[in-house]
Amino acid sequence: MAGDERDHGHEHLSETELRVRALESLLVEKGLVDPATLDTLIETYETKIGPRNGACVVARAWLEPDYRDWLRRDASAAIADMGYTGRQGESMYVVENTPAIHNLVVCTLCSCYPWPVLGLPPAWYKSAPYRSRAVIDPRGVLRDFGTELAADVEVRVWDSTAELRYLVLPERPAGTDGMDLEALAALVTRNAMIGVETVKAPAGRSGA
């Protein structure tokens, strides 16, 4: 049976590949799509727009109290100031982790995600396990990522049901005094900006 399922899955995939190829040929022949445009779109999200952008926003917020205030007041403008604007990040809202509050972002209905600062979402973010459980069992989801929260920490889950896009501002780890923006940004992971992880201190610099 397992072999049958594999074969079936393989045929299914091949049929999908053929349908996508046919769709591209058709739209190109009709003059509605330029293949070079497709290449540019792909290259943009594979190499230019990704979580490094969001990490720079977070690092700057850690370094500059005025910038952090600006993010709280008007996240779209503050993030645009770093050059990150546009598609699927038109209206940004930043949620801030503190010792007492932990934030987690999901889109239960589809896959809404702040593209300009994080790029395209990872597969797990779009998956049924995450979309179903993030709202009913956020602490269990966090444990799937090895993140254990104290019982007295308040969990806030943000379901991206409209055109607001959410970025978690994680807590700055201890042991990072004196680090510059680039060094701090290198510590900030995509998962921390979705809220499934915390930012870890660099090895050998734990402040604890």
């Binding site: 349908r19 769709l23 058709l26 799509v33 330029d34 209905l109 049924a128 709202v135 990522f145």
Partner: protein
């Protein structure tokens, strides 16, 4: 619609499994499908809510069995067919049987305009002018409605009471936008106690925030 896409609170899908060093795309066809959806969308014949509506409007079994970009393929072909831009025969053969409308061809996105178009994004905010029905701190209840068409009010909050945290301002109302109607309403972040949604076993202070429009809410 009460479809399989509306997953909040469902059980049985198992743990969240993250892939180490995950690539942006997992196969060549995913890359092309992603870009085709954006390039076809740039023709301006549909909006993002219509796109979501056709992706979710499927038998639940098929939705759940589809890979993510297969849902995009289904969505893009459905929209192209509905808009009369392609025919089923053309999609099957990959060959054009009649020329496209020149006005549509004129809207083709050239590669040099990709960057500016992405940086500009979409226009979801509407001009102010309609008074907000609710203010931060107001108690509200989500209407217990089950429309067959598109809605962004997930099932797990319907009938439940929450508190308005923030008025985001006027936004295109997604539920109407999916039917092609561009109307603005205030959109709010509404906070629900986990216990209100999931019962007494939920942690007492945990909350879920959902963005909802005026037409989803009533005073509580």
């Amino acid at each position: 619609m009460n479809g399989a896409h509306d997953m909040g609170g469902m059980h049985g899908f198992g743990p969240v499994v993250a892939e180490a060093d995950e690539p942006v795309f997992h196969a060549a066809w995913e890359r092309r499908m992603f870009a085709l959806q954006l390039a076809a969308g740039a023709l301006g014949r549909w909006n993002i809510d219509m796109g979501r509506a056709v992706r979710e409007n499927q038998p639940p079994g098929r939705y759940l069995a589809s890979a993510y970009y297969e849902l995009w393929l289904h969505g893009a072909t459905t929209l192209l067919l509905q808009a009369g831009i392609v025919t089923g025969e053309e999609l099957a053969s990959g060959r054009s049987e009649r020329p496209a409308d020149p006005a549509l061809v004129a809207r083709r996105l050239p590669p040099e305009r990709v960057g500016p178009a992405l940086a500009r994004g979409d226009r979801f905010r509407m001009d102010e002018g309609k008074p907000a029905r609710f203010a931060p701190g107001d108690s509200v209840r989500v209407l217990n409605r089950h429309p067959e068409g598109h809605t962004r009010a997930p099932r797990y909050v319907r009938g439940h009471a929450g508190i308005v945290l923030r008025d985001h301002g006027m936004f295109v109302f997604a539920d109407a936008s999916a039917a092609g109607e561009r109307v603005g309403q205030h959109c709010y972040s509404v906070g629900f106690l986990a216990r209100e949604l999931w019962g007494r076993e939920a942690p007492p202070r945990d909350r879920v925030f959902v963005d909802l429009w005026d037409d989803h809410l009533e005073p509580a």
